[in-house]
């Protein structure tokens, strides 16, 4: 797709429709432009605070969640090095993120993941990730995909997060439940919030559940971390 056509579609999506729905539709647009089977958009401001703004399907969501839980994977790498990153999830474990390789294969089966840093102004603000089922490739080449990611970044930066109050229906607040649970666990065990988050991640990993599910249990007071 031509760059101008990508821009005009991005503008069409980011200026129309209800605000809460926009990021989700941006995710769908990216999946279509890339010709991927699924896509996701994450924003990052610190390691404790990665937020998946949009995932087009449960598999894309699961791939992001695994990286939240494990603290490793192609999306995190693309953010850290500010370069596109690609990996195949199959029987050959990728030595860059062995745990993610194994867990992703078990969770979603063989596929190819490609991640593009969203860096409209230099330093990345997040990552556009996509996957295709095994054997297929993306429709677009790397330079167009990277252009899409950066243009998406401009649209996201113009879509500022809401106020301080957690709004559970707002995609920008998708991690709110994790923040609440982190505070609760920090108080239960009298540990730092960093340690509390690490414990939540470990629990999610050990029980093979999404981080937000474990957080839900804590907030619903069905899971306590007191000794």
């Amino acid at each position: 797709m031509e760059r101008a056509a990508i821009l005009s579609r991005l503008i069409a999506v980011s200026t129309a429709g209800p605000r809460r729905d926009r990021v989700r539709r941006l995710g769908t647009l990216c999946r279509e432009v890339l010709g991927a089977d699924g896509a996701s958009i994450t924003v990052d401001s610190s390691t404790a605070n990665r937020v998946t703004l949009a995932a087009t399907d449960p598999m894309a969501a699961r791939l992001e969640d695994l990286q939240d839980v494990l603290g490793e994977g192609p999306c995190r790498e693309a953010y850290d090095v500010s370069q596109p990153v690609a990996t195949r999830v199959d029987d050959d474990v990728d030595p860059r993120w062995p745990e993610f390789s194994r867990s992703a294969l078990a969770a979603v089966g063989p596929l190819t993941i490609r991640c593009f840093p969203i860096h409209p102004a230099g330093r990345p603000v997040g990552v556009l990730s996509s996957y295709v089922s095994d054997g297929r490739t993306l429709d677009e080449n790397q330079s167009i995909a990277q252009f899409l990611a950066d243009a998406l970044g401009v649209a996201l930066l113009r879509e500022p997060p809401t106020g301080d109050r957690p709004d559970f229906l707002d995609p920008w607040s998708a991690q709110s439940i994790v923040h609440l649970a982190t505070g609760m666990v920090a108080d239960q065990l009298e540990v730092t919030t960093d340690d509390a988050l690490a414990l939540l991640r470990a629990r999610a990993y050990a029980t093979d559940r999404p981080l937000t599910t474990v957080a839900d249990y804590v907030v619903a007071r069905r899971l306590h971390f007191d000794s």
């Binding site: 930066l157 113009r158 809401t162 609440l180």
Partner: protein, 228 residues
């Protein structure tokens, strides 16, 4: 007057600005590049922070002081620019009568020619003011003014983008802190999320602190507001 327009220097500057991620870095890049780009004079920068114009930096202490004095005295060319003028030029501050307190002060520091340019981008929102000053009279006409405008245009783009990025990071960080602090209150007092949020908000109102600052303090000290 400097020789040819340093087109390559501008290109280098634009490329360098592309890769910066904080306003502080943009100011630093301006300080490094301005002498080469303009060929003479010095620059200073005023930027909005918390909706107030503040001195962000400059290539010369005395020029920066003269720039900042406008904010204290409440008069000067930068304030006209902040109110909507695209540029204000003074060929000689010693004969300038528009600002009876500020102009003599700046002239007393040795500044004669003065040029203020508005840094603006989307919807013409003013991001700040770029000032070019010289100790000679009538310096900023013709080519040099043109260079200053190019410099201002590059700066505006860089500052706009980095500020949006900084705002997004700050908002994300605030949301995390507030969420975690609400979690601490929920656990400590066995409240639901809405009740705990109300407690935090009341505490922030009583102490006249921003919600995000109250949350950060609570997370560090773990001392909690009293709950009736």
């Amino acid at each position: 007057m400097p020789e040819t327009l340093p087109a390559f220097a501008f290109a280098d500057f634009a490329i360098r600005l592309e890769n910066l991620s904080s306003t502080a870095q943009v100011v630093e890049a301006l300080q490094d590049a301005a002498p080469l780009l303009l060929g003479c004079g010095h620059v200073s920068l005023l930027l909005y922070r918390d909706r107030q114009l503040q001195v962000a930096g400059g290539t010369d202490e005395s020029l920066t002081a003269a720039t900042g004095a406008q904010l204290e005295l409440g008069e000067g060319p930068a304030l006209l620019v902040a109110q909507g003028a695209a540029e204000v030029a003074c060929p000689d501050l010693r004969t300038e009568h528009q600002w009876p307190r500020w102009a003599p002060y700046a002239a007393g520091l040795g500044w004669r020619s003065w040029l203020c340019l508005r840094l603006a981008r989307r919807e013409r929102r003013c991001l700040g003011v770029l000032t070019v000053g010289s100790r000679g009279i009538e310096q900023f006409q013709g080519e040099l003014a043109g260079r200053a405008h190019v410099l201002a245009a590059h700066l505006a783009v860089a500052i706009d983008t980095t500020q949006m990025q900084e705002n997004m990071m700050r908002a994300q960080d605030a949301q995390m802190r507030v969420g975690q602090a609400v979690g601490v209150l929920m656990e400590r007092y066995q409240l639901d999320a809405d009740q705990a949020f109300s407690v935090l908000r009341r505490y922030s109102q009583d102490r006249q602190m921003k919600l995000r600052d109250v949350a950060a303090e609570l997370l560090t000290t773990r001392r909690l507001p009293d709950v009736e």
